[in-house]
């Protein structure tokens, strides 16, 4: 099932999503081509309403394209049935959303173990995995807390732990820092960075240039279409001090 070319996590060709028809036709995603390599952190930027969230939904199998092709881990997503698609989503994608989407009546641990339980893990295995993941995101001491007792940054870290539950091929995040202040944003960026260093693949949709600046590659989108691409790895700009006028 998995492509022989395992270096490729996501591939999209001529991907399209239309809403409405005739005069009211809106092309939310317009003939989009994309390749995401294993271990890459890709940021997709663009103004509100440019179609970047829709694109993410198509890539993650949350929504069906109107045209074009999309592969996830070598598996064609646009042609498979609903049940197979749901299984792909559960196994291969970890989603992180702006509003966290945690279950308010469950503790941090219970939230994190949910995906493993849904995928058929035993209670014990799911609990062990959740404990491990909360430790990984630095929240072992908050495991028994309800989301309402956690700060925004901590809630998002719980959501990230949950996204990692089934060891996804890719973590897809939609404005993950959109609801966070500067300190909490730093918390989440540090976590993403550590996971990325450990080899996790990310596709992040955002209009926060701080995230884009820490990604390997940034794609700009406007009116549903690709605008340009910037590789940010390598190449230093010299002294930090010069940026605050400390250099004479």
């Amino acid at each position: 099932m998995i492509d022989t070319d395992i270096g490729q996590v996501i591939r999209a060709r001529g991907l399209r999503k239309d809403y409405g028809k005739d005069d009211g036709l809106v092309r939310a995603v317009d003939e989009f081509d994309l390749d995401v390599a294993l271990g890459e952190m890709l940021a997709i930027m663009g103004p509100s309403g440019c179609g970047k969230s829709t694109l993410l939904h198509l890539l993650g199998g949350l929504d069906r394209p109107s045209g074009g092709q999309v592969w996830l881990g070598g598996q064609r997503l646009d042609t498979i049935g609903e049940r197979a698609l749901a299984r792909m989503r559960r196994r291969s994608v970890g989603f992180v959303f702006q509003a966290f989407h945690l279950m308010d009546e469950l503790t941090a641990t219970e939230n994190v173990e949910l995906p493993a339980l849904l995928a058929g893990s035993s209670q014990r295995a799911a609990r062990r995995r959740a404990t491990e993941l909360l430790e990984r995101v630095g929240l072992a001491d908050r495991a028994g807390f309800m989301p309402s007792a956690l700060s925004g940054g901590q809630r998002q870290r719980v959501a990230v732990a949950r996204a990692l539950s089934n060891e996804p091929l890719v973590v897809m995040a939609d404005e993950p820092t959109g609801n966070l202040d500067t300190t909490a944003t730093l918390e989440v960026l540090r976590l993403f960075d550590a996971l990325h260093d450990a080899g996790q693949t990310f596709v992040i949709v955002t209009h926060d240039s701080r995230i884009a600046a820490t990604a390997d590659r940034m794609i700009s989108m406007r009116d549903g279409a690709f605008v340009d691409e910037t590789r940010l790895t390598g190449g230093t700009t010299g002294s930090l001090a010069a940026l605050v006028g400390l250099e004479s």
Partner: protein
């Protein structure tokens, strides 16, 4: 760095040059790495000559060769007070870049959108460097707060460049 900064850092207690440097280093974190020790001593020398700072020689210890302790004179204290209530702010020179785009487009010397794009990449690289430095700082460090200021300014500049890019893209489409 302005003389007043060095002066104000001495206001709490008279200090050795190396204490002063350590205090500045802590406040600036990675942004202070390029700080030149010699530069601080030159500044201290000038402040002394101007009568704003006194320099007392303390009996030297074998393990501490530096013997000069710097403190504020009354005139120095007055200068610090004046500096604290002074309202000054660095002004970003956006007009230069703006005019560069206008001139490039008018004379058809270069594509303004391409110029904006190149500039945007450069700012993103800077943002990346500063963001990395901020991520490496412990929470609530003094330097982290300064780095946040740099991040926010770069973000503001990036927003403006986005507006420039949109605007010049639209202009390009028109005959």
């Amino acid at each position: 760095m302005r003389q007043e900064v060095v002066l104000a850092m001495l206001a709490k207690v008279p200090s050795h040059g190396y204490e002063l440097r350590a205090r500045l280093g802590e406040a600036l974190g990675p942004l202070g790495d390029a700080m030149n020790a010699g530069q601080i001593y030159v500044t201290l020398g000038r402040l002394e000559k101007a009568g704003l700072v006194t320099c007392e020689r303390t009996p030297g210890l074998p393990d501490r060769p530096e013997r000069k302790v710097y403190g504020l004179t009354p005139a120095g204290q007055q200068r610090v007070s004046d500096w604290l209530i002074e309202v000054s702010w660095p002004k970003p020179d956006l007009a230069e870049f703006h005019l560069k785009l206008i001139a490039a487009a008018a004379a058809k010397l270069a594509d303004p959108v391409a110029i904006v794009d190149t500039q945007r990449r450069e700012l993103l690289r800077r943002l990346r460097d500063v963001q990395r430095a901020a991520m490496a700082e412990p929470d609530n460090s003094d330097a982290a707060l300064l780095l946040e200021g740099v991040v926010l300014r770069l973000q503001a500049d990036l927003h403006w460049l986005e507006a420039c890019e949109q605007n010049w893209t639209i202009r390009k489409r028109k005959p």
